[in-house]
Amino acid sequence: MKILVCIKQVPGTNKVEVDEKTGVLKRNGTDSKMNPYDLYALETGLRLKEKYGGTVSVITMGPPQAKAVLYEAFAMGADNGALITDRKFGGADVLATSRTLSQGIRRFGSFDVILCGLQTTDGDTAQVGPEVAELLDIPSVCNVQRIEKAEQGSIIVDMDMPHDIETIKAAFPCLLTVNKDICQPRLPSYLRKQQTMKKDIDIYTFSDMEDKDEEKYGLTGSPTSVQRIFPPISDKVQEHLEGTSRELAQKIYTTLKQKKFIAG
C-alpha cells in the first residue's frame, strides 16, 4: 500500500496576545513543531504499513524551515518526504494551500491512501483535507476514528458522526482525515533519528507545479482575505458576590431562583 501523510509545521504555542493599543500580535516564543493532530495521521499510516506492507511518505508545504517536520516524521518511521516551498506560495488561504498541496502530491507520486490530521492548531479550519481530495478528484472521509481493514483496492473505515458510527468502504485512491481516537502516536526513535538526519528530501517550487498559472497560488490565488486581527471582546454584565460562604450560598440560591433554575 502506498501511503502519504500531509503534515504541517505550526507555532510551538498558540499563546498569542494582541496589543490593545497597536493591534500587533505578541507571540511568546518562536519555536515550532509538527501540528499535533498530524501525529495521529502519521501513526495511522505507519500502522497500515506494518500490517499491509508498502511505504509511508510525508509531504509538507511551508517556509524552508518547515522541512524540520519531515525529519520528525522520519524519526517516527516515515520512508521519504517532500517539501513544497516558494515565496510565491506565501499568504495562501485554504484554497490556495490545497491547490499547492494537491499539485505537489501529483508531482510526488501516486498513492492509495492520503492521510490528513483533523485540523491544525494555528489556522484551525479543518478544511484542507477535503479541499485537497476535491482537487485530486478522489473520495474523502473525514473524522475517521477506526480503520477496520484494507482490502484489494479499497479501505473500510469508521466515520465518527454525532449520533452514530458510519462504516464506510472507500475505493483507492482516497483521502482520510483522522481524529484523536484512532490511535496513540509513537515516540520518535533516537536510532532512527540518527540514521535519517541526513536523508535527502524532494523540494518542489513553483516551477515544479503542473499548473503554472501564478494567479492560482499564494495570496493572489486566495479568495479569502484577512482584513484585520483584534483581541476578543467581552460585553458581559458583571456582578461581584462577596461575603461569608453562608451569605454567598444564599445569594447564589436567590439568583438561581429568580432566573428559574430552581423551582418554587
Binding site: Q127, E131, L219, Q227, L241, L256
Partner: protein, 398 residues
C-alpha cells in the same frame, strides 16, 4: 502577483520589525531583513512597522467580478434522516437578518432521502425558497453525491452567500463545494454581517480563540462560511409561511460515488454536555476525584450535567467527552457554574456564549471573573455544600 518590497534603508531596528510578524515570516540577519514563504500577507509589517519600510505592491489588479449576478443567502439544511439539526434554524435566522439588509431572498438547500414532508417546516423559520433534492441514492451522507447536488444548486440559483453548520457533515461538505467552485470558505464564524455590495463580513477566532480575525471574500462568489451550533440565535417559529418549496433535479449519473456506506451503528446514548441547559464545571480547584461527587450532586439538583477543564480529563478523572474548551466541546447552556476554574482562553473559548455564567474561585484575580456574570470569590469546599443544603431545604434556615 502582489508582493512586499523591503526598504532596508528605512529600517532602524530590523529585529524589532521582525517581531511584528505574527507568523515568524520575517528574518533578521546581520541587520538585514528578509521575508520567507511563511508570509501570509497579513500586511501587519506594512502597517505597524516604520513608515515606508515595507511596501505592498500589487502589480496587476484582478478583474472585478459582477456581484449583482449572485443574489440571496442560502442555508444548507443539516439533518439526520430528516430530523433537522437546530443549527439550521439558527442559520436561517441569521440569513434572514443578512438578506433583509440587502433586500434579497433566503434559500434553503435540503438534500436527502424521504425528507419531503419536512421541507414545510423550514418555511416557518424564514426560508423564502426551499430547494429539495430527495433521492434514494442520497439516503446516507455520501460526500461526492452531496457535493454534486450542491453544485447543481449553486449553478442554478447563484446565491451571493452560503451558510453551512459546522457539524461533522457540514465541515467536510462545505470545503469540497468551495474547492469545486474555487471560492473562499471561512471556518467557524462567530459574527456575520453584510455590506451593501453583498460582501459578507466574517469574524472568526483563530489561534485557539486568542485572537479574532475579520475575513472577506471580496472578489469570488459564492461566499461560503461555516458556523458552529449555538453561536447564532434561533428565530421563533412563525405561523405564517409565505415561502415555497421547489424540487431540484439531478441526473443519476451525478450521484455516483466511490464510497459505500456498509452500515450505521447507533452510538450508545450517553449523556452529552452539548445539549445540556445547565452545566457544573470542575476545575483544578477540585483536590481529589472523590470530590467530584459534590459537583455531581449540585448538577443533579439543578437538572444539569457535570463537565471539566482539560487537566481533569488528563488526570483521568473525567471522560474526555466532558471536556469544555478549544480541544473539547463548545457549549452554550442557559446556566454554567465553574468551580475552581482559572479561566484560560482555551477553556473560555468553549463556554463564553453561555447565557448566565457563575464562577466560583478563591483567587480574586482569576481570569474567569472577566468572563463571569456572577463572580463569586469563595472556596468551593465551603460554598458548594452550603448551596446544596439551601437547594435541598428550599432555602429555609436550618
Amino acid at each position: 502577483m502582489a508582493k512586499l518590497l523591503i526598504h532596508q534603508e528605512k529600517i532602524t531596528d530590523a529585529k524589532a520589525l521582525a517581531m511584528i510578524c505574527p507568523f515568524g515570516a520575517m528574518q533578521e540577519k546581520d541587520g538585514r531583513l528578509s521575508i520567507n514563504a511563511g508570509c501570509r500577507m497579513c500586511r501587519l509589517c506594512e502597517k505597524k512597522g516604520p513608515k515606508g519600510a515595507i511596501e505592498y505592491v500589487e502589480d496587476k489588479k484582478a478583474p472585478q467580478i459582477d456581484k449583482t449576478k449572485w443574489r440571496g443567502i442560502a442555508v444548507y439544511v443539516d439533518h439526520v434522516d430528516g430530523s433537522i439539526h437546530p443549527v439550521t434554524y439558527e442559520l436561517l435566522g441569521k440569513a434572514k437578518e443578512l438578506a433583509g439588509k440587502i433586500k434579497q431572498p433566503v434559500y434553503a438547500l435540503f438534500i436527502g432521502s424521504g425528507i419531503k414532508h419536512k421541507a414545510e417546516e423550514l418555511l416557518h423559520y424564514g426560508a423564502d425558497k426551499v430547494y429539495i433534492c430527495d433521492k434514494s441514492q442520497l439516503e446516507y451522507f455520501k460526500i461526492e453525491a452531496y457535493t454534486s447536488v450542491f453544485e447543481e444548486f449553486i449553478t442554478k440559483i447563484k446565491p451571493a452567500a452560503i451558510l453551512v453548520g459546522a457539524t461533522p457533515v457540514g465541515r467536510q461538505l462545505a470545503p469540497r463545494v468551495a474547492a469545486r467552485f474555487g471560492t473562499g470558505l471561512t471556518a467557524d464564524c462567530t459574527i456575520l454581517d453584510i455590506k451593501e455590495n453583498t460582501d459578507l463580513v466574517q469574524i472568526r477566532p483563530a489561534f485557539g480563540g486568542n485572537i479574532m480575525a475579520e475575513i472577506l471574500t471580496p472578489n469570488t462568489r459564492p461566499q461560503m462560511a461555516t458556523v458552529r451550533y449555538k453561536i447564532m440565535d434561533a428565530p421563533k417559529w412563525s405561523d405564517t409561511a409565505t415561502g415555497t418549496v421547489h424540487e431540484l433535479a439531478i441526473s443519476d449519473e451525478k450521484l455516483k460515488s466511490r464510497i459505500q456506506v456498509l452500515g450505521v451503528t447507533k452510538k450508545p446514548k450517553e449523556k452529552t454536555i452539548d445539549g445540556a441547559d445547565v452545566i457544573v464545571v470542575a476545575g483544578r480547584g477540585i483536590k481529589k476525584k472523590d470530590d467530584l461527587k459534590m459537583l455531581e450532586e449540585l448538577a443533579d439538583l439543578l437538572g444539569g450535567q457535570t463537565a471539566s477543564t482539560r487537566p481533569l480529563v488528563e488526570a483521568g478523572w473525567m471522560d474526555p467527552k466532558k471536556q469544555i474548551g478549544l480541544s473539547g466541546r463548545t457549549v452554550r447552556p442557559k446556566l454554567i457554574i465553574t468551580c475552581g476554574v482559572s479561566g484560560s482562553v482555551q477553556f473560555v473559548a468553549g463556554m463564553n456564549h453561555a447565557d448566565t455564567i457563575f464562577a466560583i474561585n478563591n483567587d480574586p484575580k482569576a481570569a474567569i471573573f472577566k468572563t463571569a456574570n456572577y463572580a463569586v470569590k469563595a472556596d468551593i469546599y465551603d460554598v458548594i455544600p452550603e448551596l446544596i443544603q439551601k437547594i435541598k431545604t428550599g432555602g429555609k434556615a436550618l
